[in-house]
């Protein structure tokens, strides 16, 4: 059972501003039935351009309904410029906090608000979509720009946190490497630069062999074994690494691709940019 705050419970059991508006000035929708939650937010502006009325409809769990209800309370009386700077954390704070696994509910609120504001300014859906960028998580339809924004605003550091906040990566997990890259892109830029500077320019042969072996064991073999394959290190000459594929990999028509795209790129990443992979056929 989730540990919801009294405020979350209050907004769930007694949601404010449920429904729709006649001739709204802004309408925003986020989520879908397939994703498990969805929010439709709309508002009307007064003569001074302040939000005078807001309504919502939510399909989703208790905290999704509470987040939407809270959001409508938060935006009434604000100008679009004031409403625009509301972050998902603001929504969560307003509710006295949300369980970390439920932070995506607050993100859905912020995104629906963003869409509604764009809509009221006459921005078309395509433009908004373009602003959101490329879809990274196919399961839940989350884009790179959405993920980057949430990482920045909430100082996220792990894929798990990104999943809690956006749902991205919570399905088939195929996008986990991409999310890791996005995190590294935001918070790791300085750290990465540091790492490169500290990395020894020249490894001894023994160090290099050890590193290649380690990378094969820890990074590459587990992935191949998951598909019933395996790989064996045959020999190393300078930067040429000779391997043989085993198990399912040996008969796999895309083994060439596995070698180049996966094995070589991992070794380049962990050992040296100059590594070249060669397959030894039996």
């Amino acid at each position: 059972m989730w540990d919801y705050t009294e405020k979350v419970k209050d907004h769930f059991y007694n949601p404010r501003n449920v429904g729709t508006l006649e001739k709204p000035d802004g309408v925003g929708e986020e989520g879908s039935l397939a994703c498990g939650d969805s929010l439709r937010l709309m508002f009307k502006l007064d003569a001074q351009g302040r939000i005078k009325e807001a309504k919502f409809q939510t399909f989703g769990c208790g905290s999704a309904i509470a987040s939407a209800s809270a959001l409508t309370e938060m935006i009434v009386g604000k100008t679009l410029e004031e409403a625009e700077i509301i972050t998902n954390q603001d929504i969560a704070d307003y509710l006295g906090g949300l369980p970390v696994e439920k932070m995506h509910c607050s993100v859905m609120g912020r995104e629906a608000l963003e869409a509604a504001i764009a809509n009221s300014r006459g921005e078309d859906v395509e433009a908004l979509r373009a602003r959101k960028g490329q879809v990274v998580c196919e399961c839940f339809g989350v884009t790179d720009n959405e993920i980057v924004r949430v990482i920045k605003e909430n100082r996220l550091q792990t894929v798990e946190e990104v999943t809690n906040y956006t749902k991205a990566g919570g399905g088939c997990r195929r996008c986990h490497p991409q999310i890791e890259k996005l995190i590294a892109g935001v918070i790791g830029v300085e750290q990465k630069q540091e790492a490169v500077r500290l990395a020894p320019k020249k490894m001894s042969n023994i160090q290099k062999i050890k590193l290649i072996e380690d990378t094969l064991e820890k990074e590459i073999k587990p992935m191949l074994r998951a598909d019933g394959g395996d790989i064996e290190l045959i020999d190393i000459e300078g930067d040429r690494v000779m391997v043989a594929l085993r198990g399912m990999c040996s008969s796999c028509p895309s083994s060439e691709l596995t070698l180049k795209k996966y094995v070589e790129s991992k070794l380049k990443e962990f050992v040296s940019e100059d590594i070249i992979i060669e397959e030894v056929k039996p």
Binding site: F12, P15, L33, G36, Q57, T58, F59
Partner: protein, 393 residues
């Protein structure tokens, strides 16, 4: 006015029967000896275990020597599957289903990453297996087939007798996770060719923390817990005497009440199901309604999400469960309903009511009375289904 408690989540766990608590108590206070010791206190502990073993054996028509006490259903599943694989190390293929409990499913998927081939049999939209698929995937390399007797989410019962025959005819070992079935429907291991079967105490009114692995005589098996000679060397560790006694009592009660209970609980379940289907529009039952546990119903309410339903039910004192993503602790909704191809529009709004011998007619009326307005209330908040629903108010 005090809030009513209506417990309709018996597939998750059951309340411990008062008779069970009563039977257990002396084994905490008086008969606390270690059954392996050599004194009078050991004798009374040992007698308690012997009686319990007898009772559990009777419930499934096994020989008492085939009953091994464990700590839970998950341990029984692990002991069965790992124990058989260790005993036939030359065979590297496992068959199970896409709708198994995580205790079997996650274990098999782990083994699959560590040198075993794994076949997960699919189910149709009623949640039933295609036995031809099983026949085709069984081969000489198949070490073990693990198929549940009844599904925890839908209550759907698999044709275990036929499956057992098919598995045995190909020389593989058959394990059945019967955690949801034992105590709810008659089970006779002399009629059904099962090699190993898992039972969990807390699903049949014994406490949590006690389980059974039935191991048919002559089955190759390497113990999961190696240690002392307890359970004839098949499960090391000092016997959990009070809990074993409790499970024994629960088994006795289940057997005594089986026939009457099955009929009564089924009638209650059917009434609950039919009234909800009739009164809460756009709802549908998940799974095969003819081959099903008498106590379980999984109903999907379109356009709304399960967690919201559960929270509102809970506020009325009603405990149930859901296959929705938000209640699972993960973002993925029920793997069982998805394996059945239940559309997302229905998966997220699925609610399972699971009844027991303690459920009354008044309980069922109360659930229906509360559930109908809850569904309407959440649909009023939902952006979906407005055009599709025609509520005759």
């Amino acid at each position: 006015m005090t809030k009513r408690t209506v417990y309709a989540d018996n597939n998750a766990t059951t309340p411990v029967a008062p008779e069970v608590v009563e039977a257990m108590t002396p084994f905490f206070t008086e008969h606390y000896g270690n059954p392996s010791s050599m004194h009078y206190l050991a004798t009374s502990s040992e007698k308690g275990i012997k009686q319990a073993r007898h009772n559990v054996a009777q419930l499934i028509n096994a020989d008492p020597s085939e009953i091994v006490f464990t700590s839970c259903g998950t341990e029984s599943d692990n002991a069965a599957i790992r124990g058989v694989l260790a005993a036939v190390p030359h065979k590297k293929h496992i068959i199970t289903t896409r709708v198994e409990h995580p205790a079997v499913r996650n274990l098999c998927q782990y083994l699959n990453k560590n040198g075993y081939r794994l076949t997960e049999l699919s189910v149709d939209k009623l949640g039933q297996l295609d036995l031809d698929e099983l026949r085709e995937t069984l081969d000489d390399d198949t070490a073990i087939v693990s198929v549940m007797w009844a599904n925890n989410e839908t209550g759907v019962i698999f044709p275990i007798e036929e499956i057992a025959e098919m598995v045995k005819s190909r020389g593989a070992i058959f394990h059945c996770d019967a955690v949801q079935a034992v105590g709810k429907i008659p089970i006779d291991v002399k009629q059904v060719n099962i090699d190993l079967m898992s039972i969990s105490g807390h699903k049949l009114h014994a406490p949590k923390g006690i389980g059974v692995l039935y191991i048919r005589k002559g089955t190759y098996f390497v113990p999961l817990l190696m240690g002392g000679h307890q359970e004839q060397g098949r499960r090391g560790g000092t016997e959990n005497v009070p809990y074993i006694v409790g499970l024994g009592k629960a088994a006795e009660l289940a057997l005594d009440n089986m026939e009457a209970e099955q009929k009564r609980v089924k009638a209650l379940r059917d009434r609950l199901e039919n009234e909800l289907l009739e009164k809460a529009l756009d709802s549908s039952v998940n799974g095969d309604r003819t081959h099903r546990l008498p106590n379980t119903t999984s109903i999907s309410f379109k356009y709304i999400e399960g967690e919201g339903i559960l929270l509102l039910l809970s506020a009325e004192g009603i405990a149930a469960s859901s296959g929705s993503a938000c209640t699972s602790g993960s973002l993925e909704p029920s793997h069982v309903l998805r394996a059945m191809g239940v559309p997302f529009t229905r998966v997220h709004g699925s609610i399972r009511f699971s009844l027991s011998r303690y459920t009354t007619e008044e309980d069922v009326s109360y659930i229906v009375e509360k559930m109908v307005p809850i569904v309407r209330r959440l649909r009023d908040i939902s952006p979906f289904g407005r055009d599709e629903l025609h509520d005759p108010k």
